[in-house]
């Protein structure tokens, strides 16, 4: 009872923390973008006036009006603390704060400025941020960089007030939800106990989750209001800054002798402005009588040029006489567009909370003393936690490797990025049988503890890695830990379930892994986007340490003989001499794994980044794959009851996977990516059980001779070699043919393999009775 209440609290806490973190991060991101846009717009204005004043000579310092110009522009934008002009070497040549002349700007600012070309740039400065533009000669030589330093003051003030609002909302909403969960769980437990039954797992999970869902909905609505309150005024400031730029041009035209009404291309300039700043609902120019002369967007009928909430008004002045105004209206709905992708993240959090609640309720329910499966089920929570640690890193690993290997902004060979994934798979493939045997010798519990510790060190090292070489080492440690935990947990399941409960035991084992596959990548992607890649690895390390607690409570566990007979080379060769097994392995099992690891774990995260999305998006896609497996594998397993159907599922599934990968090459956008992951998941889910059953069916003689463990051990080893080959093949294709080419080649190869497999094995089927007759 007390433990169930604890579960309810933990799930609620998880939901509350993740929702608040996501909302706050999104608000901060939106706000800093708007503030940065304001500063960049001011920087552009400054560069224009310098260009006009100076006529593109060589030496900015020769422009004696420069200090006054800098001071005037600093005054005009309240966000800006000071403005520097600096050279390529970062030395400050002129500044609105004379004391800064002769000093240097931050290395980040220098780097960002030197890389930006004609685009505005922004970077971390000393004690705040810097945004700016660069002034170059007509032949590309830098004349100088303008760096506008702005402090985090405005952002901090806004965030502090937002934090108070969000904090109060979150405390209220999730507090009420927690109490409601506790009451519901308590009531359910007591009622069930009164009826003499154990509480049903799903009703318990619902009791935990329903209040959480309601609280998240309420929190979402409240936070949208907080977003509007904080962001709309900021957007108005930004609109005023953009409006001043436009007004400057109109004034220049006015000076040149063209009245406002006679101007050309004004609406086009307004349309351009709205295209770049979608939060602008409309831009209008009104004359001295308040009549709209030019406009773009949904201009309200009762437009007047007085400043009201949600709009910025910039007067058009000629020699102190106001002859009109620009009115820029903010679309109050822009906030909604801003938080749409956050909604997806929140939905993911809910889904993960659901799985988590189910896992925890199961853990509490089945490991209670006296429960029949207690020994078997106790492995589930630590296994889930440990695998979760690895799954967290899936969507961010390729980008992290690229960053470490390439340094700042350098291009990296795709093969280098694929190497750590391949190494991980290789260690797991080759190490697992040995680790199984080792864990048998030292005891499952000790092996599990050792594996989780090694994993924790590996993840902590990955979080702190300084370069490609040491990351490779840390990833190798992670792989060793993974292999040990995987093999020891498998051994534990077999020990506890015994030969009779083998199927049931494997269901527990696979269930924990699948649950982690669903939760890990999505949460990992969110964490990486919001906290950064290194902290996400640190979270993984913490999860490994957390897994130590339930592992310590496991039985010592040795003396039983597990699966770990090991794969002897001789057996493998003998098996491959079985032509039908060889065809199945080479044309179905290995290609399926090459696709899975090469495409889903390697190409997809890189491709998602290429399309301009965050790591959370990559995590959601990998989660979608996991979800499809969870839902479809049991369904597909029921369909494959005889050889032709199984073969159909295997070949058809591989074909579907291939078609999905081909779809991504044909549609180079998000839709193609979705088709890829959907079809890949569907195809793999269809094939996975049928393929395993086919091995048993086609290798009856081999099983009789070598034993079922040796045959399946060899089969799994071949599969895992496919895992190793996957990232290497994908990387080689990526570096020679790009994403489109890599997808096309992998998809086409999978289709060919599916055809070969279906045709050869399907044709061979007719002759089976005859062969048996001969035997």
């Amino acid at each position: 009872m007390r433990r169930l209440l604890l579960v309810a609290l933990m799930v609620c806490l998880f939901g509350a923390l993740m929702s608040t973190l996501l909302t706050r991060a999104k608000l901060e991101q939106g706000m800093s973008r708007i503030i940065e846009a304001r500063v960049v717009s001011a920087a552009r204005e400054l560069a224009r006036s310098v260009e006009r004043a100076q006529g593109m000579g060589l030496e900015l310092a020769a422009l004696d009006t420069l200090p006054a110009l800098l001071a005037r522009h600093r005054e005009a934008e309240s966000l800006v603390d000071h403005i520097d002009v600096f050279g390529d070497d970062g030395r400050v040549l002129a500044s609105s704060s004379p004391a800064r002349v002769g000093g240097t700007v931050s290395a980040e600012a220098r780097l960002a400025a030197s890389r930006a070309g004609d685009q505005p740039w922004s970077a971390l400065g000393d004690g705040g941020r810097v945004a700016g533009v660069s002034l170059r000669t007509g032949y590309g030589l830098t004349i100088g960089h303008f760096g506008l330093h702005y402090s985090a003051r405005e952002l901090a003030t806004a965030m502090a007030s937002a934090d108070r609002r969000l904090g109060v909302s979150a405390a209220l909403d999730f507090g009420i939800a927690a109490v409601a969960s506790l009451v519901a769980v308590g009531w359910l437990t007591r009622r069930r106990r009164g009826a003499g039954r154990a509480p049903a797992r799903w009703s318990m999970a619902a009791a935990c989750l329903l209040p959480l869902v309601l609280a998240m909905a309420a929190f979402g609505a409240q936070s949208q209001r907080a977003f509007s309150e904080q962001l709309v005024p900021q957007a108005v400031h930004k609109a005023a800054s953009l409006g001043r730029g436009l007004a400057g041009l109109i004034e220049r035209a006015h000076d040149a002798g063209f009245a406002l009404a006679a101007l050309h291309g004004v609406d086009r300039a307004m349309r351009e402005l709205r295209r770049h700043h979608p939060e602008l609902a409309y831009v209008a120019a009104v004359d001295g009588d308040g009549v709209v002369v030019f406009g773009d967007g949904a201009i309200p009928v009762d437009l007047d040029d007085r400043g009201t909430a949600g709009r910025a008004v910039v007067p058009l002045v000629d020699q102190d006489r106001r002859h009109g105004a620009l009115v820029l209206g903010i679309d109050p709905d822009f906030v909604r567009a801003l938080i749409i992708d956050m909604r997806l993240d929140v939905a993911v959090v809910l889904l993960v909370a659901l799985v988590l609640a189910a896992e925890l309720v199961r853990h509490v329910g089945t490991t209670a003393r006296g429960s029949p499966d207690a020994g078997l089920m106790r492995i589930r929570a630590p296994l889930f936690t440990f695998i979760l640690a690895e799954e967290l890193t899936r969507p961010l690993l390729p980008a992290y490797v690229g960053r470490l290997a390439g340094g700042e902004g350098g291009a990296v060979e795709p093969l280098v990025v694929g190497l750590p994934i391949a190494l991980f798979m290789l260690i797991v493939a080759l190490g697992q049988p040995a680790m199984g045997r080792w864990s048998e010798r030292v005891g499952r519990r000790r092996a599990l503890l050792a594996g989780a510790l090694i994993g924790a060190v590996g993840f902590a090292g990955s979080a702190l890695a300084q370069g490609f070489a040491d990351l490779l080492l840390w990833r190798a440690l992670c792989a060793v830990g993974y292999a040990v935990v995987f093999a020891a947990a498998q051994g534990h399941v077999l020990d506890q379930a015994g030969p009779a409960g083998r199927t049931r035991g494997f269901a527990v084992f696979v269930g924990a892994i699948m649950a982690a596959t669903v939760c890990g990548p999505s949460i990992g992607g969110i964490l990486a986007d919001q906290l950064g890649q290194r902290p996400t690895f640190a979270v993984s390390a913490a999860l490994c340490l957390l897994a130590l607690v339930p592992m310590g409570a496991l039985p010592v566990g040795n003396g039983h003989r597990g699966e770990g007979a090991g794969v002897r080379f001789r057996d493998l060769v003998g098996l491959l001499a079985n032509r039908r097994f060889a065809v199945l392995a080479l044309f179905a099992a290995i290609p399926a794994k090459v696709l899975l690891v090469g495409v889903l774990f390697y190409l997809v995260p890189l491709y998602v980044a290429e399309l301009g999305h965050g790591q959370a998006a990559a995590g959601r896609l990998i989660m979608l794959y996991g979800l499809l497996m969870v839902v479809l594998v049991p369904l597909a397993a029921r369909r494959g009851e005889d050889f032709p159907r199984r073969l159909g599922l295997v070949a058809g599934g591989l074909g579907l996977s291939g078609a999905g990968v081909l779809a991504a090459s044909a549609m180079p956008d998000e839709a193609g990516l979705l088709a890829l992951v959907g079809l890949l998941g569907l195809g793999q889910a269809l094939a996975i059980s049928a393929q395993s059953a086919l091995v048993g069916e086609m290798c009856r003689d081999d099983i009789a001779e070598h034993g079922v463990d040796a045959v399946y051990g060899a089969y799994r080893l071949l599969e895992r070699l496919g895992n190793v080959a996957g990232p290497l093949v994908a990387a080689a294709l990526l570096s020679s043919a790009g994403f489109g080419g890599a997808f096309a080649a992998l998809g086409a190869a999978a289709l060919v393999c599916a055809l070969v497999c279906g045709w050869v094995l399907g044709r061979g089927q007719a002759s089976i009775p005859a062969m048996r007759g001969v035997a």
């Binding site: 006529g55 060589l58 035209a253 050309h264 300039a269």
Partner: protein, 340 residues
Amino acid sequence: MNARRRTILAMAAALACPGLAWARRLPSRRLRISAVTYRGRTRVEDGFEAYLAARGMVAEILWHDIARDPGRLPDVVARIRGEAPDLVYTWGTTVSLGVLGPFDGIEPARHVTDVPAVFTLVADPVGARLVPSMATPGRALTGVSHMAPLEAQLRAMASYRAFEAMGVIYSPTEKNARLAVAGVEALGRRQGFAVLTRPFPLDDNGRPDGTQAGRLVDELRRAGAQWLYLPPDSFLTTVAPQLLARATEIGLPSFASTEALVRAGALTGIVSGYEAVGQFTAFKAEQILLQGRAPASIPVETLSRFSLPVNLPVARRLGLPPPLAMFDYAELLDDQGGAR
């Protein structure tokens, strides 16, 4: 030879003979540059000297001017030989060809061949046969062109006012002009606008006749031209003031390919700032003199950014203000001839 190998070789040379590398960095004697101009000092030379001064290069520049008379070139070449300069500087197509010769017709007796050279303000260095290609001059010279790519010119024209038909007036006797007209026609076929061409008629001596210029403008207007494009064309430039006055009178906007044509009264155009051209030329001179790069490996280039002057009086008379966005980067010229 790739850049890395070059660096390694340079490093090896520096190690073997440190004194040599040092000497190249800081010349032991003052650098001497022999410069030849066509019509006296221009803002190109201002830019050239300003760049050298800004980079701390001390050079003695010996000036020669041919005062628009190519007949003086042999004498200038002889004087340059006597000066034994470190670099030769030549202004414009006529001077550059006269001093340096075409790449496929160098005569060591007439041309300076043993001194590295930079040319400047040559509209079409390949067409003029100064170099076989812009990317690799292939001989001991490099330089700077001042012409904006034709496509950029037409883009600017269309963004001022969109058009479906444009007219061109040119001298059929001038190669530069013929090349430009062919380029415009090719772009017209590709981008789907009509190009109406009116060559100047030739007189009995085969020279273009400018007396009919006003009639040509009227014809183009009647045929439906919405812009008048003025290619680089020396003869056209001499008759441009009258021709452009007529165009403005009948409401035909004009687009110039050179600064001189803008000064003659075209509505607008894309031109290189002469000062920037001079600076860019000095930048190439610096690569040769201080960094020791072989001129043959330094590409001939044009500016990456050009200025867009707008004659405000013409714009006002035509009732065609530049589009608002153009006020951001246009160089506004008013009655006094100054920029605003």
